[in-house]
């Protein structure tokens, strides 16, 4: 009986943890500009890869491992994030970007199909740890402008730039 209860509790905790890890996502294509049609499959792949890039970024910043960016980021976005990780590693800082919600608005699909631009009104919790000691957790709402470009098998983030909502 006790064992069963423990299993149920563990399942609930695990399930709630998994639910918490999944951010709310809404998608809007009504503002899309450009002569090229954004196919449903392309849209789904871009969203999937972009959301995965947040996980990759979070892990890279949490572990201070720039190589964890390689799968999701490319070009200037990758270089800038890697530089930031180097800076925070030198300062003994770790950061955690736990995304809670993404309101994604597709803006532009370039005519030759080599870039997709979107805006993401993202809500996340930024946690700062200094030498493994939590300093603060700050809820942040930012508007990210993101440019994705196709790589071998997935869309990668080439530009990721935020400002206040």
């Amino acid at each position: 009986m006790l064992r069963n209860s423990a299993l149920v509790c563990a399942s609930i905790i695990l399930a709630s943890g998994l639910v918490a890890a999944q951010p709310d996502v809404t998608v809007d294509t009504s503002q899309l500009k450009g002569p090229r049609l954004l196919e449903e499959q392309t849209k789904a792949a871009a969203i999937r890869d972009y959301l995965e890039s947040w996980q990759g970024m979070n892990e890279a910043f949490q572990q201070n491992q720039p190589s964890l960016l390689d799968e999701d980021f490319i070009g200037a976005a990758r270089d800038k994030l890697a530089d930031t990780i180097d800076e925070q590693a030198k300062a003994g800082i770790q950061t955690r970007y736990q995304d809670r919600a993404h309101h994604i608005q597709f803006l532009f699909y370039s005519p030759e199909g080599l870039s997709i631009e979107l805006i993401d009104d993202a809500e996340c919790d930024v946690q700062v740890l200094d030498h493994d000691k939590p300093v603060s957790t700050v809820p942040a709402s930012s508007r990210y402008i993101v440019v994705l470009t196709p790589a071998e098998v997935r869309w990668k983030v080439r530009v990721m730039q935020a400002d206040s909502k």
Partner: protein, 289 residues
């Protein structure tokens, strides 16, 4: 003792409140700064504290003396983005946030032009898309004028002026009627990026073949093969000669050489000879009876 305790508590609250209030009011962070520019953060109180400026684009940590202004020289934060500022003293923290905006002057462009090679005379056949960046490679999101210019080998120029929307601009252009290399230039401010577009002749137009008897053979030769704009179709383009005669058919593929294709085929009475290149059909010759 019972009477003194509330007074002590009230005194303690009053003593703490103004400090906390003052710290809130005097922890002044600029609302936004331009990338790369100098800025200061003011804070009140006394003693030492740790100041963190955190964003995916950059992270800074400073040990600051409360009650003073912390100066960040030009170049301290160059990556545009939204930054969280945390002032931590002991177990207490105060947070603020600010934006770093891109420099307004364009310094580089990402220019995608397609295709690199296309036939002449194609409406909206060439597309160009551009993203405009500042000197720190931040995407300039404020509307920025961009001009696109396609100059053909003959000197004819197509121009279009557009404004970026959230950092991006695009255009379409017609390929010109003359074959050769065209320069496709995107320009924003003093910065430009050039792509070379090679325009090649289109499909053959008005394919004509003539036949001359030569013993038991026919010498078949096309007239110089041109596209519909008069450009010579490139050597190597395949021209297909087909001879259909009672009881059979023979076909020969011949590459163009110096604008013409020629071949010898048996002269059969009652044969019909046709010529084609790609989807273009030429004239038909009937030989003999």
């Amino acid at each position: 003792m019972k009477q003194t305790l509330p007074f002590l508590l009230a005194g303690l609250i009053l003593a703490i409140m103004p400090v906390a209030h003052a710290q809130d009011e005097t922890f002044n962070v600029p609302r936004s700064i331009e990338a790369g520019s100098a800025f200061s953060i003011q804070n009140a109180g006394s003693g030492e504290a740790a100041l963190y400026i955190v964003g995916p684009g950059q992270v800074l940590k400073r040990t600051v003396q409360l009650g003073t202004s912390t100066y960040f020289p030009a170049g301290s934060i160059c990556n545009a983005g939204h930054y969280v500022v945390i002032l931590a003293q002991g177990s207490g923290t105060t947070t603020r946030s600010f934006d770093v905006t891109p420099v307004s002057a364009p310094a580089s462009l990402s220019f995608f032009a397609k295709p690199s090679r296309l036939p002449v005379g194609l409406h909206d056949g060439i597309t160009g898309a551009v993203y405009v960046f500042d000197v720190y490679h931040n995407l300039i999101v404020a509307p920025t004028p961009v001009s696109f210019e396609l100059s053909s080998p003959s000197g004819a120029v197509q121009k279009q002026q557009v404004s970026t929307r959230d950092g991006a601009a695009w255009t379409t252009m017609d390929s010109t009627s003359q074959q050769g290399s065209s320069k496709f230039v995107a320009q924003a401010g003093d910065v430009s990026s050039t792509s070379i577009i090679r325009q090649v002749p289109g499909d053959p137009c008005d394919l004509k073949v003539s036949a001359q008897p030569s013993g038991q053979q026919l010498d078949l030769q096309t007239a110089p093969v041109r596209d519909c704009s008069g450009n010579a179709v490139p050597d190597g383009t395949i021209v297909t000669f087909t001879e259909t005669y009672p009881g059979g058919q023979s076909t020969v593929d011949v590459p163009l050489k110096r604008d013409i294709a020629e071949v010898k085929m048996p002269a059969r009475d009652g044969a019909t000879i046709t010529v084609a290149s790609g989807v273009v059909l030429g004239n038909q010759i009937r030989w003999g009876k």
